[in-house]
Symmetry: D2
Subunit: 342 residues, 4 copies
Amino acid sequence: MIKAGIVGGTGYTGVELLRLLSRHPGVELRAITSRKEAGMPVAQMFPSLRRHVDLAFTTPEAARLSECDVVFFATPNGVAMNDARALVAAGVRIVDISADFRISDVAEWEKWYKVKHACPELVAEAVYGLCEVNREQVRKARIVANPGCYPTAVQLGLLPLVEAGVVDIGHLIADAKSGVSGAGRKTETNLLFSEASDNFAAYGVAGHRHVPEILQHLSAAAGKRVGITFVPHLTPMIRGMQATLYARITRDADFQGLYEKRYAGEPFIDVLPPGSLPDTRSVRAANMCRMAVHRPYGGDTLVVLSVIDNLVKGASGQAVQNMNIMFGLPETLGLEMVAVVP
Amino acid sequence: MIKAGIVGGTGYTGVELLRLLSRHPGVELRAITSRKEAGMPVAQMFPSLRRHVDLAFTTPEAARLSECDVVFFATPNGVAMNDARALVAAGVRIVDISADFRISDVAEWEKWYKVKHACPELVAEAVYGLCEVNREQVRKARIVANPGCYPTAVQLGLLPLVEAGVVDIGHLIADAKSGVSGAGRKTETNLLFSEASDNFAAYGVAGHRHVPEILQHLSAAAGKRVGITFVPHLTPMIRGMQATLYARITRDADFQGLYEKRYAGEPFIDVLPPGSLPDTRSVRAANMCRMAVHRPYGGDTLVVLSVIDNLVKGASGQAVQNMNIMFGLPETLGLEMVAVVP
Amino acid sequence: MIKAGIVGGTGYTGVELLRLLSRHPGVELRAITSRKEAGMPVAQMFPSLRRHVDLAFTTPEAARLSECDVVFFATPNGVAMNDARALVAAGVRIVDISADFRISDVAEWEKWYKVKHACPELVAEAVYGLCEVNREQVRKARIVANPGCYPTAVQLGLLPLVEAGVVDIGHLIADAKSGVSGAGRKTETNLLFSEASDNFAAYGVAGHRHVPEILQHLSAAAGKRVGITFVPHLTPMIRGMQATLYARITRDADFQGLYEKRYAGEPFIDVLPPGSLPDTRSVRAANMCRMAVHRPYGGDTLVVLSVIDNLVKGASGQAVQNMNIMFGLPETLGLEMVAVVP
Amino acid sequence: MIKAGIVGGTGYTGVELLRLLSRHPGVELRAITSRKEAGMPVAQMFPSLRRHVDLAFTTPEAARLSECDVVFFATPNGVAMNDARALVAAGVRIVDISADFRISDVAEWEKWYKVKHACPELVAEAVYGLCEVNREQVRKARIVANPGCYPTAVQLGLLPLVEAGVVDIGHLIADAKSGVSGAGRKTETNLLFSEASDNFAAYGVAGHRHVPEILQHLSAAAGKRVGITFVPHLTPMIRGMQATLYARITRDADFQGLYEKRYAGEPFIDVLPPGSLPDTRSVRAANMCRMAVHRPYGGDTLVVLSVIDNLVKGASGQAVQNMNIMFGLPETLGLEMVAVVP
């Protein structure tokens, strides 16, 4: 059994991780930390976990995380980087669901996250945990930077095109829509039910932290600099994320075939038949990305529809997938759940 | 492996049964029927089932249900009663999620369901599948009448009081609220998103089919005739049901203790600590009933709050629980999932 | 033109008051205060008010409220009582949408609101602004205590029974459901979209501030002490409130006729035909209470269904209705809007 | 008073028209037809209209529409074209909220709407009622083709760019999101609450009837052929529509100034300050289009955000606006309502 610890378990990625790990046959949950809630049983904050999780929140000091095999960071940005050095030194492997290790250019990272990075030397060795790209590197990684939700939906949707070099990669467009849980369990006015319900709006048009993350990794896949216009929108649903992706064709190809071939054998990527229209509920609470490729009116613009559950394939599910790879378990272990419909 | 068939798999109880049975380690799904959709792959109608269910819908004739060990009816009322006799004769055991076998007084049933019963002789032997009451009879039953969603939430919430004889059982009140999926996958105007969203209303105040079902079984538990005022409400959520139950105290007692004792050891009943306020999401997509007992201001009226997921403990989950009992499997097999929060 | 000021305009009752007053033909909006947001144009916080409200928030000092004819308090509890004395002395009339003047027993008020009352002598003269009961007193009132949302829906639904003395007033039951806006524009975790959406739960079962308010005024109507069990529930909709009311009949009567007669001529009370099931959207954004009276199965328990928009008839609309009465305007002026459906 | 009739009043554009016209000071509602519901009081189907609309539905024959000054068609496509000739001959002016007169190329229209056009000669004279473009022609029109909801949001958002010739008009992208009421009051499975709630999906990617409508009128504005990729999405809200528009800059300009100048003086177009992020609730239930222009990272792609209420500026409100223009009334008469927030 893998001994697992969680740092920061009071947010949505934390409770989702608990949902997944508490039923994972290869994992023993050792500790979950929250300085603020130390002493409170986890199942008191989240009654859904009654009879599934017996742990109480503990302080990081009391958690003895260095005795774990793996530690997940389900924390706000800027926490994992402070703890990583000591844990790695103790032989603990890390899956960071926050953004601390996602961008290899530390100066760029510091510009977007507005804080000095605490362990730049570990950024270099961290592996970006988009499993479908970096599976081999993840196996041996000491630190896996779990991708953001938008970057997951956008990159998975664009990778086959970018890798094949068949579209204008300088002018990609990603129109993305996220359920409200993507913003976390933060008490901000715009996330209130009475504000977000029966409402729809774009945000972050002028700049969003996920843009440099997308650009770095797509550029790596392309072998040259990629350009993207990214517009995220807040959608009145709890879970679910759709990226509607637009790319201008530069070289004709069997686009459907391109996608099917690129993702053949991938357990968590489902390329739908031609003409399909994936909906987010088809992946609700499941670790799956479903996508469809369209070429409207046979024109020169491709439209790719990519849906995930932002808390599963876009966060905690992908984190467990990375853990499975890191520890040599079957990649799908504990992740075979069926989406909840309706 | 138990060979299972499903009659009527295009509704919400059907797709929920597929979600549960496709991951159940003791079950082999043999057939799923839909006369109207015969030939269509199940996963085409419900893409959430892609990679989980390979079956296509078949006609009842082609389904060879008599070779199954168990057949579930996830049909509109009035279907199961027509097929039951032949299946039982063939040695197949039945779990009927519809209402055909829930009321032992056939005349009463015919009054409410407005159709002649096709096999009254089997009504008598059918066992009412409220596991927490009839567990022993379910073990040997050939036909289990799976309880309705409202009757499940209401009876579980009232049983300890009614059995103990500590309240005025002639004037019980059940104010119940259901998510819209409780009405089924029917194309009726009042179930449209634009009608049911951001809206709330009572319905069925003048009479609801679940009233005779509740009365029969609560009266059996009480040993005398029970009276209840039942008001259901349509609530703008997909899944979830809450019964707020009011009873006038006739004999003082340790009510919290009464509930804890009645349900001690029950895997799917969770009596919350005093003062708790269960929310429906704490059981979303899980086979669980959570409840809390209140005595506001120490007065003479008890308030019991009982929540379930109408599609799981209120329908398909309870059906699987019944199947587990019927076939001597661990009662919780395939039903250990954690509720989906948020 | 009535010169009107608003204290505390950043919450939901404030913005609703602005929606109503900005189109009211008899009112000139003079000032709206918010110490925290002083200087910010109102329409910057609420873009829906662009082109309708040109005011900026001001400090209370700068607002020169003593020059207004009427001042509305759309503040948290405990603010109006501090400002009332000076305003009344200056000849300004007050409509307090908060709870400061609703309960005449100051000790009782202090127990529930957990603060010392700042001007108990004005509590005595304040008129409880349930227009359908106290219309005459409102005309001359210097201070109108605008009723709470739950008290409005519950009292309007029970008044005909209580006044007529035909039910057991010692054991009334009010099972009430509120949209999330009823909790105000507060950044509390349980009001987040991801918590309140697709979810349903009771709250305040052990005690709610609206209980003493309901009891005082219903007891006055009954001429003797009333007893009530009140259970409020948070419902996943923005606006809307339903009270499902249960009362045991003690004397037979033409209940439908009783309601129609009691509310004959009332512009904002709509007694629906027998058998009706009012939904909250039928009053969304309108100043209206619709209700229906049921006697299920001809038994001895009456069920009354009463719906309002918690922000209109349950708050700001009723405040404008009170203002109309106070200043001798037609009671419906500025309040004739049709409910928004769908 | 303008005598107005409505053909087809049982859908969402019909009930919205009733909401607006019943409070319009210059209109007398004469008749509302529904062959299927003839005889039923309108307020029985829509209780929100009780005390506002006394009419009952009548058959078209009984409605004596030829005595009206104006007749609105709130019908499915293919109805207005059959009645138009006789009404026009009788001197009645028509506002058609359906699509029968929106596309001047009759062959193209017949291809998309899959029916033979009944009065092609009237198509030629019909005026496309996008008031901000064709105000002068609307004044004298006998038939106004009220624009579709998507075409309204998309064209208003793109017009300043297209007219100024500053972007690549051959490759426009419109990523549009609509509330569910945009699909009408149809009992289709995908519009059920349990299907559309907590869900998000694109539809009509392969082809949508609003594309030829957009192309014709934008091409007219451009003076040459326009090309657009249009992807509509179903969003879990009742009302509201956002178009996120992408255009490649071909000539630099003061884009904010361009928009402000183009729409200066327009009562129902609100160009927001730079950096703004309009949300759909800021126009809920109001006749308004709010928009914002962005140039992310100062790059070569413009992003325009355009929001309307699909039932108001996208349908019935714009129809009333057109009527006001046709009859020489102030354009804003009866349309000054404030958006409903929250």
